[in-house]
């Protein structure tokens, strides 16, 4: 049997609310501390206690953090999902289970390891009886550690971190790990090929979830006001702000430079945010699907009255309540022009944990510079799961508060000021804040028709002129929003475009496409709407551009098709939405289903000159995927 080292997945099937997250995080962190690139994904139900839940850890020596569809190692602790868990193990895989589950073992093509979890825990007199189920989870950590070589020292470090150095719970849990380890050593014979070995690929890296990163970035962005309403998967963002504000913005007088208000609903959450943004605060809210729907009317008001606000949308799959605990990228079409009538929004599209932090502060600069709502589209997979990431970087530029007039500015202007007067011909006008004591500072804000001096008017010409100015403002914004990230491959003949959290899975798919099918694909990850000029250049260079996204209708594909009619024939949609994070498998298969070999010639010559100017963030991964797989015919992901 060939050893498989640092390249496999571990899935734990437990019951929601059974306390397995400590155990799973311990495995994840221990592997990370061993220097092996690793990611953890929680596949949880919309439930507090009792329903099946799965946690998948992927170790990837090549640094691929996307979801892997094959289940190499499965640990079954939940009788309710036992049969399904057993069936999910890939041939040649390994299956660990708590041996108090008496259900038929129907597989002969995998390694089977029963574990006397309950018995082992009972033996430890230091574990109170009501803690046995919780601590029992640590037994499988120990058994697994023994069989696949997880470093016990790193497990200790992980528990230390988790329990913040509190010795009693650390000991109780560590003892269970050790008991599991010793039992396995004495009783189990290794029958599977999976091993972990130390690497140095996580040196200097951090582990974080996107919501925490977004909250921290927002605080570094000088957030002054947050209003929010609880909704999965956005809740942890606002909660993280509550957690970190005191530490990051302490003052000697003990007073606060910020306020976090839990509103009565999303209407009020965005309403308060608009009020605060209007009065000159860096104001934000965070929400998801149904909450976003409720915010629509206010988004239109903020667009038309020109109020800067930041709205984080941690996308979950809809429509309607949909699957509240499953991920998606299906809010793009909804947010780009949120509100009735002609309207535009600036949409920022972070693609990893680091960008969640970066766009946390940057979103305010964009919002205040253009005095308009900025939607930041994260998703459940990025927001709630743990990702390996480069450390957060301190904001590279000072806060951009945009065009603001205070008392002395108004005195200098001697009244030559109008709230919507386009003095600089860039569509962006000057604003004042309540509390400004200059008698000429005030204006009356409204969602009704208004002229350059914010006076009510129903005049057709004035209305039209204002709408044209707003359009011009969004033209100006194209130069200011985050530019796309581009990965080029030598000798490429096709391209992939995408946004958000799918980058890692796409890079993995690109490596597979090149190795197994000879298809070399350049990749552009769009980071904002409106599209910056780099996107204009890119879409014109290829005969085949596969637009990869986690939704049914191919929303980015539609948007690109509208923006670039000249490129419509080359834009092909690879869209799929089932609530699961993107995997390299469905991306690869989706691309192959649409790929036309005959027209796949080398990219147009014009490309090279342009390509040099494009920002290349990371080199494309050099190593191909470990397993050879057949090209699928369906183009869509097969049933699990």
């Amino acid at each position: 049997m060939n050893k498989v080292v640092n390249d496999f997945s571990i899935t734990v099937g437990t019951k929601n609310g059974s306390g397995s997250s400590t155990a799973n995080n311990t495995i994840l962190r221990a592997i990370f501390k061993m220097g092996i690139p690793v990611s953890g994904k929680n596949l949880f139900p919309s439930n507090i206690q009792g329903l099946p839940t799965w946690y998948t850890i992927r170790a990837s020596k090549d640094g691929y953090l996307g979801r892997r569809e094959d289940q190499d190692i499965v640990i079954a602790i939940n009788p309710d999902s036992f049969a399904r868990d057993l069936a999910s193990v890939a041939p040649g895989g390994a299956f660990f289970y708590a041996d108090d589950i008496k259900q038929p073992i129907t597989r002969a093509d995998i390694a089977i390891y029963p574990m006397p979890v309950k018995e082992i825990v009972k033996k430890d007199p230091n574990v109170p009886s009501d803690f046995r189920d919780l601590v029992g989870n640590m037994v499988y950590v120990g058994v697994l550690a023994q069989l696949i070589d997880i470093d016990m020292e790193k497990i200790t470090a992980a528990l230390n971190f988790h329990f913040k150095g509190k010795q009693k719970p650390i000991d109780m849990n560590l003892n269970a790990v050790k008991a599991g380890y010793e039992w396995a050593k004495a009783n189990l014979e290794k029958k599977d090929p999976f091993f972990l070995e130390h690497m140095d690929k996580t040196d200097g890296m951090i582990m974080a979830d996107g919501n925490t990163a977004a909250a921290l970035g927002s605080i570094f962005g000088g957030t002054q006001f947050v209003a929010w309403y609880p909704i999965t998967p956005a809740t942890s963002l606002a909660e993280a702000m509550n957690d970190y504000f005191p530490m990051l913005r302490p003052r000697e007088d003990g007073k606060h430079t910020y306020a976090v208000v839990q509103a009565e609903d999303e209407l009020a959450a965005i309403g308060m945010t608009v009020g605060a943004g209007w009065s000159g605060l860096r104001a934000m809210t965070s929400t998801s699907g149904p909450g976003l729907s409720l915010m629509t009317e206010f988004a239109g008001l903020a667009y038309y009255a020109e109020v800067p606000i930041v709205v984080w949308d941690i996308q979950r799959i809809g429509p309607s309540t949909g699957l509240p605990t499953r991920t998606s990228q299906a809010d793009l079409s909804f947010t780009i022009g949120m509100g009735h009538g002609d309207s535009d929004s600036i949409v920022l599209l972070p693609g990893d944990i680091n960008e969640c932090f970066e766009f946390g502060w940057k979103a305010f600069d964009v919002a205040e510079r253009f005095q308009t709502p900025v939607f930041v589209l994260s998703d459940l997979d990025m927001g709630m799961n743990q990702w390996m990431s480069k450390p957060f970087e301190y904001p590279a530029t000072p806060m951009d508060r945009g065009k603001v007039l205070w008392e002395k500015d108004l005195e200098e202007l001697k009244g030559n000021w109008g709230r919507y007067l386009d003095k600089d011909s860039d569509g962006v006008t000057y604003r004042t804040f309540p509390g400004n004591k200059h008698p000429l500072s005030s204006y009356f804000t409204r969602g009704t028709g208004h002229d350059e001096y914010a006076k009510y008017t129903e005049d057709a010409n004035t209305f039209h002129r204002n709408m044209e100015r707003l359009k011009n403002k969004f033209e100006t914004a194209k130069q200011y929003v985050p530019k796309p990230v581009t990965h080029l491959t030598k000798g490429s003949n096709v391209a992939i475009m995408a946004y958000g959290s799918t980058e890692s899975a796409i890079n993995e798919a690109r490596a597979q496409l090149e190795k197994e099918h000879g298809i070399k694909a350049d990749f552009m990850r769009v980071r904002a709407v409106p599209f910056s000029p780099e996107v204009d250049e890119f879409v014109k260079k290829y005969d085949q551009i596969f637009v990869v996204e986690m939704n049914r209708d191919g929303q980015l594909h539609q948007l690109l098709s509208l923006a670039y009619p000249i490129a419509v024939s080359s834009l092909k949609s690879v869209a799929f939405g089932d609530g699961m994070p993107a995997s390299a498998k469905w991306i690869r298969e989706g691309i192959l289903a649409q790929y036309t070999a005959s027209s796949a010639k080398l990219a147009k010559p014009a490309k090279k000159a342009v390509a040099k100017k494009l920002p290349v963030k990371k080199a494309a991964p050099k190593k191909p995927a470990a397993k050879k797989t057949k090209a699928a015919k369906s183009g869509k992901k097969g049933a699990k």
């Binding site: 430079t257 609903d265 209407l267 209007w278 206010f298 008392e407 005195e411 309540p434 000429l440």
Partner: protein
Amino acid sequence: MSALPMAGAPANVNLAGLTKNDYRGNPTTLCQGCGHNSISNQIISAMYEMNVLPENVIKFSGIGCSSKSPTYFMNRSFGFNSLHGRMPSIATGALFGDHTLKGIGVSGDGDTASIGMGQFKHVMRRNVNMVYIIENNGVYGLTKGQFSATAEKGLALKKQGTNPYMPVDICMEAVISNATFVARSFAGNPKQVKELLKAAFAHKGIAVLDIISPCVTFNNQDNAYHSYAWGKDHEEPLHDITYIAPRNEIMLEREMNEGEIREVAMHDGSVVILKNLEKGYDPTNRFEALRALEEAQRNNWLATGLIYITEDKEALVDTYNLVDTPLNRLTDADLRPAPEMINKINALMF
């Protein structure tokens, strides 16, 4: 501050150095005889008499006839005419911008008791520092005469037939929601409106002022509860009300006899003097307030006056322990953590 008159100011200026004109707004576009216009005029008088600097006030409104009125007073104040039923959330957020400012919100019965009922209840709960005026006429004017949620059961309107539902009593809703100042008045009684406005403005926290303001176009039949005729016949003032400015400002005449009057001290040192008309009504007693409202409802009285007040509760911005400088005047140095904090944060991310 070139507009503030200094030496040689005319005699008709107040202590803020402003004339009454400095408190006016644009000409009204509401119907002639609309109760709302009378209320706007009383706001102008009250603010002038209280020497309020217009720059220290933010005006708010939702959508509807009533919500248009903030353009008809205090042009020098910032204003935000927001969305239908959503004035409370806009005001809540905006007043965080500068905690030294006071809000004056004007809403209507549709804007508050129908589409905005949720936000209305929560702005009470939060004790946002604003005067919340409901210009209550029981009818939708801008859409030409539909029943609102405060219309009485049995009211007949031209195109709507007869209203089959019980009305919402805005004052009762406010008291139940723990509002800290609840009053009712009638646009046909401008003196009382003005005194209540002054008391409401002096109150720290939310001050609800439900003003019956007849719609002369769509709901002014003599038997309609929100008409001038009905209001005049059925108004049952709980007391005569006088607002006395803080002691260090001009004192108004105090002519009431001991024993008949009740003083309510406001947080800023001003006093509201209530002259009881019949029985000793105590507006600091929440239980009594609800009883009085229930009694008025059963007897078809329009009970007016200060229904409930408590000065014990802190206003919303105070519960947040904010810095003394208004938040919207803070600089980068106050708002962005120091560079070394980034390492501290990274160290926390396993």
